[in-house]
Chain length 399, copies 4
């Protein structure tokens, strides 16, 4: 069982999570080189995570002869340069979310990578949470019928590093930081072939003294008529709230990834200690998760990436998906300014066509059945519409 | 302890719930006259609910000499006429939700009632659920700081009576039927004095073969900058989903009124039987509520109404509130057509003024503190913004 | 709608809860006289709860000419005397839980009340929570088949008044205080006619410097073979934990009465304020209930008591039930000493006989079917036992 | 990153789960040989799980020259023989739970393995669930103070293979099958050095036509005075219920491993499909888990086993632990017969000594403080015990 040797770019929280995942359990892939702008941080990271090589030279780290894959865990404004170097050195490249600060930059990245023909993966971890993977499978099996609505909510009290708060480096605020997750979760439920057509968004800076939005809500209309909805916030209090909901014609799915996962602790505060990412307290009722890197999708994400790389197939999340996410966010940002729906502009759509959600059409005695309810006595109550007059009536029928 | 004698207009599901509430526990108010268009239904209702008098004459029922209060549980298009008759006979009148089919009709109702000087109450039950009452109290006490966002979700597989499905009688679809609840719940969290300024809505008829919308999402912007959000659906599968969420600068509140209330049954299907309003099955995992009329707010609602009537104060929910709800729904319907934000148009605003949500402004060494995180070693990590350059930096400080 | 005028004995927490219930909503019964050993406490109580009369004379309060019903909310060692006075003055009497400190004392109380022929009710509120009432109904309807096991858990950080901690006044510790609730909840699920036969208990004083037990676990075996289990504690941290579970041959029921009822607040601590009985904090994640007196069963309990009194029937919980509870607790206390199962000794059993839980007996090809599992391909896997050899085998069959 | 090559003994459900875990994600250890009594089952298993070698010869499979580790996934009565062969061929051996059918047999296994000096691991997966690992860490850090009570519940509708139901092959019923998990979970919370002293158990065969117990409850008393409690059942309806609870002097922990993990699906039944191990339905409300082999502890268990093997340390769960579990179960079985507490008999105790839980001893004005409650006005209410008279009183004090 041979594994991969990886160059990790970045020593922030995301680089740490990625590395812990790769070095966790009995995994066979390892971080072999870590790059940071600061030698001190690179050294500390290497020491704490048992990484044999460090570098403060971006190109050198990428070109390192013993690694075959580069993982980008850098601020958003540095993704393009890093991908260019990967293309030059023909390394497989896995880039953290969002792919870029906007669709134009994402297109550049996509073009470079596709031009070079290198393997690319978009590290959208929340699409890979074990719950989401199984839920998407249930949707694809038809267990909830045709999807009509999906909600993705990602809120917490704000990111841990300074650059996130700087709209220039980041490309935006809570939408760029968190909305990118939500969009891909929603697309996964809608079906990747279901084109996002339009977006409408509200954004505001309510609490923090910054330029970027700290709260936003967006709606995304899909070709099938289904609607996606996301809520992101950097002002949420209570921890990190990651919840998704999907409704379909035959069912519904609710997932809670962080704050209510069947693990509850009450503590008077004795013992202290780390509870969970972005938890606000260490006393009172606490809601940790079992294994963060597994629950947040990192384990399944890297499994898919390396398995795809080895078998020559595309991973679940590609740079093209990252590009689509940026295009949806661009539409949302435009809508927040124009205060109206804005089209999602894509240079090309690779997903095919999706039919409109079909209306149920049952008839009874020449009338359209609007609803059928089972009564306690075993009979059914029908709500009927007369196709000629348009009148609605109730009728009780046997069976 | 003397109680009130009530004329109940309507024998549908809502009339039944109201009557069961009034006749429940050791309550001292009673339905004394029940009106239906059909004598047969009136008789059946009177028999099953122990009501001494029936009538198929609307004015006669309202004018009945032994009742002092009229409860309107009729289809939406009949509210105006009923209120006119109550005004004529100077009866206290409590009207089910929504007050009217649109704001113009609601204004007519309001004018008639205020002109006659009769006591009026708007029967918006979900504002009175015990959880909502206590949650609003917590908000008013400042336990979650300043409210930034409120979400109200009300979805189920569609209403039980034919007239709901007919846009002419009802005035609309899922928004008119369910959105009216959500708007008042949101207003209760925002503060009744916080003016709803604008609305944006998506609506569609996705599943049912009807003209009215069977799914809708709306955003409501308030004077404070806070945002309300509601989701309504007649195509939800899984029962009746009533959930509200509120976020504030110091906390958050989640309430679940129906499907997850700490009461869970698994049944192989033996025994059958009624589980809960709008439940879809009687086998597998079932989620009943303890006492529906209490949990859904009916008990507290009528207590407030009759206590208000006796003490000469306004109840928590007045006809003016009902009018505001209609005005917000009108804006939402307009927005669904114009595909842009629409102003909430009110003939007058009785709620006063509300300040914009205040931004937190802490400074450290001449820098603006964006975020403060407690580290495991007891020190704090500050994210700082330089007021001159606008640059963001991290800094670790003691304490 | 005429109501009852009540003499309330006791101004502690339980007297307060009872009075708030009677004076809550649009209830038609009222506390007319309140008795306390201290005039100061009686006056304060009367003022805060709008009670017209006070007394420090127990017999005078009971004999008050304008009241027809006496509610006993006194320490356990005073129940007998109070019931004697009610019998003498022929008042209906409702007594708080436990009925007495032990079965002998409970028998005295029962004999006095039955001898006088007065109406009696045993105020076991937790049997009357709306969830429990509906759950018992589901059990009686057969929705979970035959009950095999019931668990009742009542734990909190310890009672609020000094006398509870004094084994002489109280008759015991956590078992007497909390176990009495659990026993009646368990009996309600088992069927009141299902005789409790034996008890086994572990008790210990683990944390508090007292003589009485602060933790206990007991098992109760019923005539049907079903097993009851309760856990009580005065050392639980995290609030008041009231949960019941029932398992049957066709299903299961889980109820949570206090800490997880679909109402969740996160608060940084701003605003402070009362959250819920026995809550430990006012910051972090908090779990209030909507309407405590309703959720804890007080409303339905008094409705049943007064309805029973008016209609001449027995209430759901009688003094005989209280006596059985004491007899079960006596057996548990004996078992904690003998470290073995102890019989539940009853001077008479009024509940009839109950059959042993029936074993399922399906056969296939002359073999006994132990288990039938549906396979994904539509076939069934049978686990079979050969009646002759006693050997077990797997077999896959169609359908 | 070199991995291990494993001989897997057994192709039942447990062998499948083990193999899926080893072959899952980017794991570096692989099953290299699979043994079954039936060549057909071995071949099918090898094909479906990509295992290169099969065998129907137990010793041959164990002695296979290319494998270094043997995993025993056989019926309980075959563990001893398999361990003997592993000892003879000096292979590292990992044995599924329970280690043996009783303590005497477990002692034989232990002696053989220790005599041969081979590496041994006891495959008690539920101690390794990510939630349990983190919860045990929280306990060890003191976050809930001193543990006073732990409950472990494992119930489902009965095992999938015939041999489980045969008391001769299995060594017992639900206690042997499920209680072994519970005991080790409880010991993990109590501290492995906290000696289990006595056990008391109720067992019965309520529903299935078998000799072995299908329901049991047991109490286990530990040297510290703390009490463990487990409930096992083969007659539970609703899926597989795996819940643990721990109470301590400073807090509490609740974990739910299967039925309520923040993943909820409602399905009308369309799409069908596999939901979760031991789920009873594929319609209505369903509660899958994200990644079964991770959530159930298999991933962390094998990581610990192989990491321990490589680093020469003992794994978290050893054959000695398995022996202790059998000894506790033996005591429980004896207690079910004698109907009294029975000592846990151990040939030697390797865990050291544990102090009795300390009573809190705070004093105020020469009185013992029994309880301290914070009042809404900021003052405290003390419940005091006079050390001389033993009398209890309430007192309100500042602060």
């Amino acid at each position: 069982m041979k594994g991969h040797k990886v160059t990790m770019l970045g020593t922030g929280l995301i680089g740490l999570f990625y590395t812990r995942t790769l070095h966790g359990q009995r995994n066979r892939d390892r971080v072999h080189v870590v790059y940071s702008r600061s030698q001190e941080r690179a050294d500390a990271f290497a020491r704490e995570n048992d990484v044999p090589n460090t570098s403060t030279d971006l190109e050198g780290a990428i070109a390192h002869p013993e690694t075959d894959t580069v993982v980008i865990g850098l601020p958003n404004d540095l993704h393009l340069e890093a991908v260019e170097l990967c293309a030059r050195h023909r390394k497989a490249v896995l880039c953290t979310k969002p792919l870029a600060r906007n669709a134009a930059e994402a297109k550049q990245i996509l073009d470079i990578a596709e031009g070079a023909g290198i393997f690319t993966g978009y590290l959208e971890d929340l699409v890979y949470t074990p719950k989401t993977l199984k839920a998407v499978q249930a949707v694809q099996a038809g267990q909830i019928g045709t999807v009509t609505w999906a909600r993705s909510r990602e809120t917490h009290p704000g990111p841990h590093s300074a650059w996130f708060w700087d709209a220039t480096q980041a490309g935006g605020g809570a939408v760029i930081d968190l909305g990118c997750h939500c969009i891909e979760i929603i697309r996964s439920y809608m079906g990747k072939g279901n084109r996002p057509v339009e977006a409408m968004a509200w954004m505001d800076t309510l609490v923090h003294p910054i330029e970027a939005e700290d709260n936003a809500i967006a709606l995304i209309k899909f070709e099938s008529g289904a609607i996606g909805q996301f809520e992101v916030s950097w002002t949420f209090r209570g921890g990190m709230d990651l919840r998704d909901e999907v409704a379909g014609t035959e069912g519904t799915i609710w997932t809670n990834h962080f704050l209510r996962t069947g693990f509850e602790i009450f503590s008077s505060g004795d013992g202290g200690g780390y509870v969970a990412e972005k938890a606000e307290t260490s006393s009172g009722w606490l809601f940790p998760v079992g294994d963060e890197v597994s629950e947040l999708g990192y384990v399944d994400m890297f499994s898919d990436m390396f398995d795809a790389l080895e078998s020559g197939r595309a991973p679940r999340e590609t740079f093209y998906d990252g590009y689509v996410v940026n295009a949806v966010m661009d539409a949302a940002y435009r809508s927040a300014k124009t205060r109206a729906w804005e089209p999602v502009e894509l240079f090309e759509w690779r997903g095919g066509a999706t039919n409109r959600i079909a209306k149920t059409m049952e008839s009874h005695d020449g009338q359209i059945v609007i609803k059928r309810e089972l009564l306690p006595d075993g009979r059914s109550k029908l709500i009927l519409k007369d196709p000629a007059s348009g009148d609605f009536t109730d009728r009780i029928v046997a069976g």
